[in-house]
């Protein structure tokens, strides 16, 4: 699974992307975020307020109950501010 982080979420975590295996027992976006928060204070700080965390799987917006697959590209980012 490929994870991509953007904007202040990327800055707080400290990396722009990483590749990892879907952890055992993590089947949904919500579970992935909970698991990521256990990986360190940088992750916890970035993902603390999930109201401000948007998720895309394979470049489409998904809700937190979306089920993940091994080869997914998962993007995590704040609400967008383009235009």
């Amino acid at each position: 699974m490929k994870l991509l982080y953007f904007a202040w979420l990327r800055q707080k975590i400290g990396i722009a992307e990483e590749t990892l295996d879907l952890p055992p027992g993590v089947e949904t976006v919500a579970a992935l975020i909970d698991w990521l928060k256990t990986r360190g204070p940088n992750y916890a700080a970035a993902l603390d307020n999930t109201k401000l965390v948007r998720v895309a799987v394979n470049r489409e917006y998904v809700t937190y109950d979306h089920r993940l697959n091994a080869g997914d590209e998962v993007g995590l980012f704040p609400p967008v501010t383009g235009g």
Binding site: F6, R59, E60, G75, V80, T81, G83
Partner: protein, 150 residues
């Protein structure tokens, strides 16, 4: 047509190319977004636009397709820049062409409203006191909600 690019663009050239040879077009509506020199009373010295390569293009293409589904359009154009910009610089151009004036206006406004809440871009504003990420505005969500279909 969708383009995500670092370089500036010339709205005149783009609008001309959009309608050239299509003499059934009656009107073209466009919106050009520019970097403002102030935000909340603070002077902006630069603005950096980050995006999600691949997803950004995909989302813009979906907005283009949705505009075509909803209105009788002869041409659609979205150009959005990324990278570091200065006050006064162009950020985005959205334009729609139709034989019907109302369709051109409604669809153009729809596209910029949806783009602002769906296209993965993030603005980092630099000021003399440091830089900060622009927060999403509730008014943009409200503007996008106008176009939700039940």
């Amino acid at each position: 047509m969708i383009r995500v690019q670092r370089e500036d663009f010339d709205p005149g050239v783009e609008l001309e190319a959009m309608t050239r040879g299509k003499t059934h077009i009656g009107g073209v509506t466009s919106f050009t977004g520019l970097v403002r020199d102030m935000a909340g009373g603070t002077a902006i010295t630069a603005m950096t636009l980050e995006h999600y390569p691949g997803m950004t293009e995909k989302q813009l293409a979906e907005i283009e397709a949705e505009a075509h589904r909803r209105w009788p359009l002869d041409a659609v154009l979205i150009i959005h820049r990324y990278g570091e910009l200065k006050p006064g610089d162009r950020i985005v151009l959205v334009a729609t062409a139709s034989s019907h004036r109302d369709a051109a206006f409604d669809s153009c406004r729809f596209m910029i409203d949806w783009l602002k809440t769906k296209a993965p871009f993030w603005k980092l504003e630099a000021t003399d006191a440091g830089s900060h990420w622009v927060e999403a505005k509730e008014s943009d969500d409200a503007a996008a909600d106008r176009w939700r279909q039940s």
